[in-house]
Amino acid sequence: MLLRHTNAEIKERKALTVNPAKTCQPIGAMYAALGVHGCLPHSHGSQGCYAYHRSTLTRHYKEPVMAATSAFTEGASVFGGQANLLQAIDNIFTVYEPEVIAVHTTCLSETIGDDIPQIVNKAKADGKIPEGKYVFHANTPSYIGSHVTGFANMTKAMVDYFAESGPRSRTVNLIPGFVEPADMAEIRRLATGMGVASILFPDTARVLNGPLTGKYRMFPEGGVTIDQLRQSGTSIGTIALGVMASAPAGLAMDSKCKVPCKVLNLPIGLHDTDLFVDTLRRMAGVNVPETIDLERGQLVDAISDWHPYLHGKRVGLVGDPDQLLALSRFLIALDMRPVYLVTGSPAGKKFEESLRDTLSDMGDDLRIAVPGDMYLFHQWIKDRPVDLLMGNTYMKYIARDDDIPFVRCGFPILDRMGHSYFPTVGYRGALRLLEKMLDALLDRKERDSSDIEFELVL
């Protein structure tokens, strides 16, 4: 099998990543840009970059993923990509007619040193950007950070380019982080349920989980509009969900338009959803309605029903930093033991400290790598296995090799359905996560039990 190539002996690796737990910035930028209504993401680099990003996003969402490319040639990489980008902007507005183009850079154009704002200004001066249409950009060098950084940079660019100050409205800005379209919809649903008007960005709901209608729409229904982004500068506050993915945009909004920003964990699990709901309640000056209390109560009820099967289960997780932090807190609330955690993203010392603080009760059992890769994670498993694995699809090789129950979560998920439609954020999302974990654990328990132990009622 594939990961039988994992050597149990752990040696320090300095120059090498094996089986990565991250990918590069541009794909995150592309995903974020798809959350703007009528937006065509544009990759300023070689043709391969955007082909790979589109393919990966397509495999994850099972949806058409549109983007354009500057299609760099040798000439462009010697003389700079200005001509390519100018031509691209012209062609895109002529043929595909998006509302807005979101340009992100690549390792190639960053190293050459293309100045995107200057090129965009030239396009504007040359009349290549039609009236009422927009081009904005984010720098996303692939050799810095990870896909999460790219998402954060593109989200921040939405603020930098479009947010405008003005008389305060009663709206709250919600920055959902690098989560699924279904999660974005769920975050908005919670806000709406509390009677809070919100501007959510980016918003990939109905872009990457659209219906089958018999028509192909290059620019589907969903996405935050440029008008909304403009108005976001007048909101009473911003809730940025996830330090790594959303804080840069939230803080930029604060300094640009003096909209106060609260940075929270992703609302995954009970406590972090509580925190989100409570923060939103205070910020908007509303009461939490009974319907949301009901959802919370049902979640606690389900946890109580099943807690004997969760207690003490050791869990290994590979994922993005914001997800790891929130999931850890949820697992602890479930009396489980998140003991091995790897993210490929270089999220920094501060992140690692907060993760260690959260997990201080795990004692010597705790292993954390920031950044690490799946190879290292697998070596830990070989050293001492866990009861449950959580991570993206690539983890299935480890699950198979070491015969460990596995719950898919994160990006990418290439081999199962569900993530596009069922959220993992909010109380409802926590309920779904709980169901998935219990299914995995209990299926395993029953598979391994003898005929005598095999029980009808659990």
């Binding site: 190539h5 094996v18 990918t23 043709q47 397509t58 040639t73 040798e74 390792c107």
Partner: protein, 449 residues
């Protein structure tokens, strides 16, 4: 549906009978900046060709993305080692971009070779390596000397051409391996199979056909590939090259240096598979029984699948197909294969075809078939609707577009899960087409209480 505007520069890459009169395709072009092309890059081309060599180390030299996006995404099966399915990257950071990545590459190679003792190592250059100017070839030479295995640089910087140039870079790397193995035990009636990547186990089927014909298969390049087999490839008498672009370069090089002739082959569809086998048999006129063995094989294999194919044809007669895949050669085969099951191709196109390819495609198709080079999704969906296709054959990026339009889809790229090559593969193909074209899901579009 309103007609979409076409980029003026693209008009010559589209042939629609209603539109322009004379048939003259402009192709072999770099994609226009700003087009939503379905194509990929040089690195992608190289990775595709070399990836199936299962006992070699494949190290991607660059930032993490290129390694991450090509981690085990192709179903190129190996009967033994699975090393090719791991993802190894030098994961270059800002530091290396400024100061150079050579030391990191050296360390990574030494570490990996010490751990896995591979038979050879391929080092793929990505865009950035071409810009920062790492001397990858020098590092490879040094490591090869120190470690005693071939360490081959693959000059696959993404921006240095098209996917085809990536094929060529891969062939160059392979060619430096060819000729270094022992060929004393190779029979006179022997071939290499080129351009067959063993997606879904297809190489195993094809190899077995040849073996039943009494032909020794020295090396499959590169499906279920092994370094030692590549080294011996120059011992074969004939190269049989599948797929239009990918490995013709290697065949040319081997013809020049070793005097090994090559013929083209396609294993998609009954006609083309039989033709391929007969062509190979004809190359060995001195072998007394080969013609007869081949005829028997073809007869038996065809007889085994025909009854079911006829049955399937009954359901598919008159249905329309759109075919848009990477290589033009595959399009030719698919047109014939679809015809065999009663379907008509109303749109045909490829990402990488050349002028001859398109002329041939034109000749194979019905007069009103739309022919496209390097198409974008708007063009594809427009013509699919106009031509009322029931089926789309394409790759990963086209599947959801087809589904959104409410038509069946068959992946004829690296995400196919069952072997579609050979006689048996034709039956798999027909079944796949049948299940998707006749699926009840397309009737669920409207509420039907």
């Amino acid at each position: 549906m309103r007609t979409i505007p076409l980029l003026r520069e693209r008009e010559k890459q589209i042939f629609d009978k209603a539109g322009n009169g004379t048939f003259e395709m402009a192709c072999d072009r770099h994609s226009l900046a700003g087009s939503v092309s379905q194509r990929a890059c040089v690195f992608c081309g190289s990775r595709v060709v070399l990836y199936p060599i299962a006992d070699a180390l494949h190290l991607v030299h660059g930032p993490i993305g290129c390694a991450a996006y090509t981690w085990d995404i192709r179903g190129a099966l190996s009967s033994g080692p699975q090393l090719h399915r791991m993802s190894f990257s030098t994961d270059l950071g800002e530091r290396e971009v400024i100061f150079g990545g050579e030391p990191r590459l050296y360390k990574a190679l030494c570490e990996l070779i010490a751990t896995y003792r591979p038979k050879a190592a391929f080092v793929y250059s990505t865009c950035i390596v071409g810009i920062i100017g790492d001397d990858v070839a020098a590092v490879c030479r040094r490591v090869a000397r120190e470690q005693g295995i071939p360490v081959l640089p693959v000059h696959s910087e993404g921006f240095k051409g098209t996917k085809k140039d990536g094929y060529k870079a891969a062939c160059d790397a392979l060619f430096s391996l060819v000729g270094t193995g022992d060929i004393t035990d190779i029979a006179a009636v022997s071939i290499n199979i080129l351009g067959e990547f063993n997606i879904g186990g297809e190489a195993w089927m094809i190899r077995q056909y040849y073996e039943r014909m009494g032909v020794q298969v020295v090396s499959v390049l590169t499906g279920d590939g092994r370094v030692d087999d590549v080294r011996r490839a120059h011992g074969a008498t004939l190269n049989v090259v599948q797929c239009s672009g990918a490995m013709t370069f290697l065949a040319e090089q081997m013809k020049e240096r070793y005097g090994i002739p090559y013929i083209r082959a396609s294993y998609f569809g009954i006609e083309d598979t039989a033709q391929a086998l007969y062509d190979v048999a004809a190359h060995f006129p001195d072998d007394p029984g080969i013609r007869e063995r081949t005829e028997t094989l073809v007869r038996d294999e065809v007889a085994a699948v025909m009854p079911e194919l006829r049955h399937i044809r009954g359901d598919l007669e008159g249905k329309r197909a759109a075919v848009y895949v990477g290589g033009a050669f595959k399009v030719f085969s698919l047109i014939k294969a679809l015809r065999l099951i009663g379907m008509r191709v109303v749109l045909a196109g490829s990402q990488t075809g050349n002028a001859d390819d398109y002329a041939h495609m034109r000749a194979l198709c019905d007069p009103d078939t739309v022919i496209l080079d390097d198409a974008n999704p708007l063009e594809l969906s427009r013509f699919v609707i106009e031509k009322q296709a029931d089926l789309f054959i394409g790759g990963v990026k086209e599947r959801p577009i087809a589904y959104k339009l409410g038509l069946g889809f068959c992946d004829h790229n690296h995400e196919r899960k069952t072997p579609l090559a050979g006689f048996e593969g034709m039956l798999h193909f027909a079944k796949e087409v049948h299940l998707t074209v006749t699926s009840p899901v397309w009737a669920l579009l409207r509420r039907t209480p």
